[in-house]
């Protein structure tokens, strides 16, 4: 198996084997259950579907699909050989080893409608000397030539709340007993965010 679903528990710092301080994110990774299998003949691709975390109630279509295995957060992971897996199988955090490089996908914290200073790291204008253009967008182009605003120009708008993938994340420790995975650096989203961890 090459991936698992996890919940972000928070961040802290630890001393590594050299004695240096490193920043880590703590994740509750798995246990996940295989809830569905997609194969080449029937679906055109090979993948398995994992479910994570229990839920109290399911509606009729959900319980039909999950066979009353009350789970939420269902994510599909591509695999090469589907024959190795069967529905109901448990996937645990021990698929990862300390030192391994992984990537983590998830939804970032929503920032709302953000200006260009925050969203695109534009410089701000002077705060004093009669200036009123503190955090304004500024010019968005020339005049009659070209007579339009170029496409793709950095403008204010909704920021965050999008799915991103953080790559080259190093696994620091794997705790199979508590289903806890510790990785170096940051992971998208706030505490409690559901993220997907994939081997890279």
């Amino acid at each position: 198996m090459n991936g698992i679903i996890a919940k972000k528990l928070g961040m802290t710092q630890i001393f590594d084997d050299k004695g240096d301080v490193i920043v880590v994110t703590v994740l509750e990774a798995g246990p996940c259950h295989v809830v569905g299998i997609r194969n080449q003949e029937k679906n055109g691709y090979n993948a398995i579907q994992l479910g994570f975390l229990a839920v109290k109630k399911l509606n009729k279509p959900e319980s039909g699909f999950l066979k009353d295995k009350k789970l939420r957060h269902i994510v599909e992971f591509k695999v090469e050989k589907v024959e190795e897996y069967k529905v109901g199988q448990e996937i645990k955090v021990d698929i990862f080893k300390p030192g391994e490089i992984i990537k983590i996908s998830g939804t970032t914290i929503g920032k709302g409608f953000a200006g260009t200073t925050k969203r695109w790291h534009h410089h701000r204008g002077p705060m004093t000397h009669g200036s009123k253009s503190h955090r304004l967008t500024g010019s968005i182009g020339a005049g009659t030539t070209p007579g339009r605003v170029y496409k793709g120009l950095n403008m204010p708008g909704r920021m965050g709340g999008v799915r991103v993938t953080n790559r080259s994340i190093k696994v620091i420790s794997v705790d199979l007993e508590n289903n806890v995975l510790m990785v170096k650096g940051t992971v998208p989203g706030p505490k409690g965010n559901i993220v997907e961890i994939i081997k890279s």
Binding site: L9, T12, I14, F15
Partner: protein, 117 residues
């Protein structure tokens, strides 16, 4: 206890010396040079203690040829071999930033603790 608190607790060095702001300490830190490991001493006044749990740090200030030098150490760092308390000081502030503005002998002066009888 939450999982994160447990992880932080494992990082804490229980044997760490007890000292306060105003004390004069000698910090022996491990330095790796090639294959050899030696101890480097840094002696001065503790002017700040900051943070809790495994994140706690302290700042030591000393004068080198009349120029102030400050060094921040993580309290529970495995790189710290030993913290020796040379002198107990009685500080009336939590942070002794005022020592930065003092010149000469006044910059190293913190009242010694008077033992209660």
């Amino acid at each position: 206890m939450s999982i994160i608190e447990e992880i932080e607790k494992k990082q804490i060095n229980e044997k760490v010396a007890l000292f306060n702001v105003g004390d004069t300490v000698k910090v022996l830190s491990k330095i790796v040079e090639g294959n050899k490991e030696r101890l480097q001493a840094f002696e001065g006044i503790v002017i700040k203690r900051k943070g809790g749990s495994n994140r706690a740090t302290f700042t030591v200030r000393k004068l080198v040829q009349g120029i102030g030098v400050e060094r921040i150490f993580p309290l529970h760092s495995p790189k710290i071999d030993q913290i020796q308390i040379m002198k107990k000081g009685r500080a009336r502030r939590a942070k002794l930033y005022y020592l930065r503005n003092k010149i000469g002998s006044a910059a190293t002066k913190v009242k010694e603790e008077i033992k209660k009888v």
